[in-house]
Symmetry: C2
Subunit: 240 residues, 2 copies
């Protein structure tokens, strides 16, 4: 694990705030004008650690969440910052049926899939699901006491039954909105990638996602910040 | 309408083939290695007309269709080719209920939305739909006898009832998989953009999309090629 230049790709400012604060990252303005992504620069021990959020939508004044903005963010970050490891920290939904709890933090392994790209044509069906392999996080997870699992990405915060059927088909245990997109672009450039996701809500209980999400966003973002820093510290201390 | 450098952003090689042939475009290899997009260069009268397809997935050996690849394609094409107009030709689903027929060719107007980004949080709901305004195609459509309408984008070839409800809410008449993503990136760079879509299948009849799509892909791609060339000819002849 010889990484020198880590870039954290993130969607929401609220999710990133405490990471930026704890790592003392410096806001350097827009990553690549006129695109909206915000660039934060820093160091942790011997590592360069940068963070790029997808910025705000100028029309709706909300963060650019979802797979589309994640693609633009990742492609721009690779072009501008040349990372040798990309990590996507974020909040996500978990599954009671898979033993998930609010506040759990997962590392993606062994893969990341899409649950809402249904393309029932030969070859395109598997392409839609994606099944992007990611960096082997098991050693990190074992050392730090984190969970690992298949992360599943879609364009909606809510879900339909077909999404759940798809997630079940590949054993997904984390549902979120960016990781597969980042994984795809990272894979095209052959840059190692994994996601770290903190659970804000349980998909398979009776409370609507949006209610639980808003209620638990702050505490989940705090847990996320704590664990991503432990992960970066692990990487800084394992530079053999 | 003073455009000098037009870039056509396309998803499928099968859709692009007859346009490439009719416009005598020259294959110039990959647009931006190691990314998969294929670059075709050409001229039409006084205009530079380039075409970029999203290329093939090396794992599944199918074309990169859908919103995610369209983002990467558009961002790369803008960075490399600096277009002053972006057009997205493609095939799409139409609606009998909106008077659509197989073989119809639509120009996008007045906007392009997403039908499968449901984010029920304040502000994010409208962000999810997107509602990207596009270039005013009415003069072109009137002159060439083409239809105009709201184009609606999603990640799946099939649809669920929630997609149809969403499409109905904003009066969508064309359902496809790329235009809103291209519109978003073009809007960030303030580059005029519109889509031209040839109808392969009718969403609101009883035949599954995938059956009609495969059956009509060739004829719809031919109609698409014929009409995009008429559109480019119109633009070349209206350079005041």
């Amino acid at each position: 694990m010889k990484f020198k230049r880590i870039v954290l790709i993130m969607a929401m400012e609220d999710e990133a705030r405490s990471i930026i604060h704890e790592l003392n990252l410096i806001h350097k303005g827009k990553l690549l004008s006129p695109l909206p992504m915000a660039f934060y620069e820093g160091k942790y021990k011997s590592l360069n650690v940068d963070l790029v959020t997808s910025g705000k939508c100028y029309k709706h004044n909300v963060d650019h969440i979802g797979p589309q903005a994640a693609i633009l963010n990742t492609a721009s970050a690779i072009g501008q910052l040349h990372p040798d490891l990309i990590i996507n920290p974020g909040t996500a939904g978990g599954f009671m049926s898979a033993g998930g709890n609010i506040g759990d933090v997962y590392l993606s392994y062994p893969m990341i899939c899409y649950h809402d790209r249904r393309i029932p044509l030969p070859g395109f069906d598997a392409y839609g699901v994606g099944s992007y392999y990611c960096f082997d996080t098991r050693e990190i997870a074992n050392s730090l006491g984190l969970k690992t699992g298949v992360v599943s990405t879609g364009s909606s915060l809510d879900y339909i039954q077909k999404d759940l059927d798809m997630i079940k088909s590949y054993g997904g245990v984390v549902k979120e909105m960016e990781a597969a997109s980042i994984a795809w672009v990272a894979d095209l450039y052959k840059i190692p990638f994994f996601a770290i996701k903190s659970i804000t809500d349980l998909v398979d209980n009776s409370t609507p996602t949006e209610e639980e999400f808003l209620k638990n966003l702050e505490s989940a973002s705090f847990a996320l910040s704590r664990e991503i820093i432990r992960v970066i510290d692990f990487l800084a201390n394992h530079q053999e």
